[in-house]
Amino acid sequence: MADLATQTVDSDLNLSHAFPEAFRWMVLARTFEDKIASIYRSGKIVGGVYVGRGQEAFSVALTSPLRPGHDVYSPLIRDMAGRAAFGEPLLEAARSYMGSALSASIGRDGNVHRGNPKEGIPTMISHLGAMISVVAGMLLARRLKGTLGDAVGATCIGDGATSTGAVHEALNMASVEKLPLILAIANNQFAYSTPTSSQFACADLVDRASAYGIEGISVDGTDLADCLRGFAEATRRARSGGGPQIVVGKLLRLAGHGEHDDATYVPETMRCSEIGQDCLLKARQHMLTEGWASEADCADIEKQATLAVEKAIATAGSEETPDPYAHDWNALSSEAFRNQEDAP
C-alpha cells in the first residue's frame, strides 16, 4: 500500500471509477506497444523502440488525476499509458513510429519524442533529467502570469536518471519556488543494464525528498490501486499549495531497455519476485475480483484496443513520409533569419 511519508491517503479517491478507466488505457498502451515491437522486429521501424511493459500502472496513475488542457504533463520513454490517458491521440503515437509526414515533428524526430507544448505537453529531448526544469519553468510562467490556478505539472524519470545533475538542479529550483510539480520516479531496477546498486546508495529513492524539503510517497508499481492512491494524494497536495512532490514506484522493467535488448542481465529471481509481477495482469484480476468487469468485458476492452491500434497503425503506415525536397530546412522561426545559413 502507498507508504505516505507525512499524511494518510485521500480516502475520497473513487477507485471504482478511476481504476477501470486506467485499466482501459493500460490495455491500449500494452496492445499498441506490442504491435510496435513486432513491427520493429520485422524491420519496418528504423531507430529505437522503448516500451513501458510492466510500468503501465505507474505511468497511467500519474496522469489519472490530471486534467488535460489544464495541467502540464511531460512524459518520458515508458509513458505510453500515461500519454494515452492524458489524451494523446493514438494516431499521433503511430505516426511518430511510422515516420509519417503528418506526425507532429514531420518526421524530424521519432518514436517517443513527441509532444504538444501548446497543450501543456512538452516534447522530450533524450538527455535524461532535462525536462524537469522545463516543467518547472512552465509552472513558474503561469504563476507569473497569474494563470496558474490549481494546475500542476507532472513528469517522470527512471532510477538511472536520478543520477543526473539536471534532476537535482530542477528539483531544488522547484522546491525553492514551491511549484506544484509532481515527479514520478519509476524505479524499475535497471538503467539499461545497470542495477540500482551501481546507481545510488540511499535505501530508497524516496529518501531524496528530504534533501529538498519536499514530500515523498512510495508506491507498489505493480499495483494499480496503490499507484492511483499515491498519485491522487500527491496531486492533491501539489494542487493545494504543498509544493513539489515525488512519488517513487517500485517495479521491474518487463522488457529490454529497448526492443533490441534481451535483458539477460535481469536475474531470474528478480523476475520471479513480487516486483516482477505484471501490473496489467494484476489489474485485470482486480477488475474481475472487484466485479468492475467480467471476463467478457475484459476481452471486449482488449478487442477494442486491438482494433484501435490496428486502425491507427494502418492509417499512419499509409500516410506519406516526409519529402526532403519539399521540407522546410530552417532551424530558426524568425522570418528575417530564414534561409540564411544554408550549408555552404
Binding site: 524537469i132 519553468g137 538542479e169 555552404p344
Partner: protein, 321 residues
C-alpha cells in the same frame, strides 16, 4: 547626458520589462542586489516578480526559461559570467536551440553572456563563447560592440522569436560611453561599416572592433585607409556587407578575441574565400587569441588577446603581401 554600455543594457532590460508583461529576468544575484555587474540595478524594485534571483543552477535556469517560453513568456537569463554557461550548454544547444525545429513552437529566450577578457580575470571569467553556440543550428548569436548596439540589439534579442545568445563584452561595460540611446538601429543580423577605407578590410566584432579602430587610426598616419566591419551578429553572418567591403579593398583580416581553432574568424575567412575568392588580391588573414586558456596576469593577458598593436602588424603584413 552620457550613458555607458552597461547602462544601455540595463535600460534595454528596463524598457523590455515595461513594454511587455511577458518579459522576465532570471539569474543569480540579479534581484535586489542588481547583479554582479549591476546590469539589473533598480529593476527588482520596479518589477519585483519579474526580476528573480535564481539558485546556482545554470542547467535548470535555461530549462526553466524554455518552459516559460513555451507558455508564451520571453525570459532573459543572465549568466553571471559567460564561462558558467558551460554548465547550461546542454539545455542551450539541445533543448532551446532545437525546440522550434522539433515542435514548430518558437522558443524566444535571451541568454545574456557577460563575455571576454579584462585584466586579472583569468581562465574562467574571461571566455568568449560565441563559437560554441553559433555552431549549433537554431541559435542567433549577437556580439554588440557599441553602447547603441548594446541597447538596441538587446531589445531585438528579446523581440526575436528564437533563442538569442547575447554576448555582451565586460571590457566595454564601464569604459564605453555614448551621448544618448539610439532611436533607430540597423536590423538584427546586419553588419555595419564602423570605419571606411580602401586598402584593407578588418572584419571583427565586440571589443575587438575598438582595437581594430585604433589600429586603423594609427595606420592612417602612414596613409593607409583601413575599413572596419563590425559584424554585430556572428550568427547569422551578414556576408553581403563583408563581401561588399572586400570587393572595395581586396584584402581582409578577420579578427576575434576567441580561441583560434574554428571560431568566427574561420567562418568569416572560409566564407570570403569560398564566396568572394575573385575579390581577393592577397591571402586573407586571421588574428585570434592564443591557443591557451586566458591567463590571469595582466601582462600575459595583454599578450594573449589581440591588441591594437598586434592588429596593426597583422594589417601591415596583409597590405605588404
Amino acid at each position: 547626458m552620457s550613458i555607458t554600455y552597461l547602462e544601455a543594457i540595463r535600460e534595454a532590460q528596463s524598457k523590455a520589462l515595461a513594454d511587455d508583461p511577458n518579459v522576465f529576468i532570471y539569474g543569480q544575484d540579479i534581484g535586489a542586489f542588481g547583479g554582479a555587474f549591476k546590469a539589473t540595478k533598480g529593476l527588482y524594485e520596479k518589477f519585483p516578480d519579474r526580476v528573480r534571483d535564481a539558485p546556482i543552477s545554470e542547467d535548470a535556469m535555461i530549462g526553466a526559461a524554455v518552459g516559460a517560453a513555451i507558455e508564451g513568456m520571453r525570459p532573459i537569463i543572465e549568466m553571471q559570467f559567460a564561462d558558467f554557461s558551460s554548465v547550461a550548454f546542454n539545455q542551450i544547444v539541445n533543448q532551446a536551440a532545437t525546440h522550434y525545429w522539433r515542435t514548430g513552437i518558437p522558443c524566444p529566450i535571451t541568454v545574456r553572456l557577460p563575455s571576454g577578457g579584462t585584466p586579472g580575470s583569468g581562465p574562467f571569467h574571461s571566455q568568449c563563447m560565441e563559437t560554441i553556440y553559433a555552431h549549433y543550428p537554431g541559435t542567433v548569436v549577437m556580439t554588440p560592440a557599441t553602447v547603441e548596439d548594446a541597447y538596441s540589439m538587446l531589445l531585438d534579442a528579446v523581440a526575436i522569436d528564437d533563442p538569442v545568445l547575447f554576448c555582451e563584452h565586460k571590457f566595454l561595460y564601464y569604459h564605453l560611453k555614448a551621448d544618448a540611446l539610439p532611436k533607430r538601429a540597423l536590423p538584427p543580423g546586419r553588419a555595419r561599416i564602423a570605419r571606411s577605407g580602401r586598402h584593407a578590410t578588418v572584419v571583427t566584432y565586440s571589443a575587438m572592433v575598438h582595437e581594430a579602430l585604433r589600429a586603423a587610426e594609427s595606420l592612417q598616419a602612414d596613409g593607409y585607409e583601413i575599413e572596419v566591419v563590425d559584424l554585430r551578429c556572428v550568427k547569422p553572418l551578414d556576408m553581403d556587407t563583408v563581401l561588399g567591403s572586400v570587393a572595395r579593398t581586396g584584402r581582409v583580416l578577420a579578427l576575434g578575441e576567441a580561441f583560434p581553432w574554428g571560431g568566427v574568424t574561420a567562418e568569416v575567412i572560409s566564407r570570403v574565400a569560398s564566396e568572394g575568392f575573385h575579390l581577393l588580391d592577397a591571402a586573407p588573414a586571421r588574428l585570434n587569441a592564443r591557443d591557451t586558456p586566458i591567463p590571469y596576469h595582466p601582462d600575459l593577458w595583454r599578450f594573449h588577446r589581440p591588441t591594437a598593436s598586434s592588429v596593426e602588424s597583422a594589417i601591415r603584413n596583409l597590405i605588404r603581401d
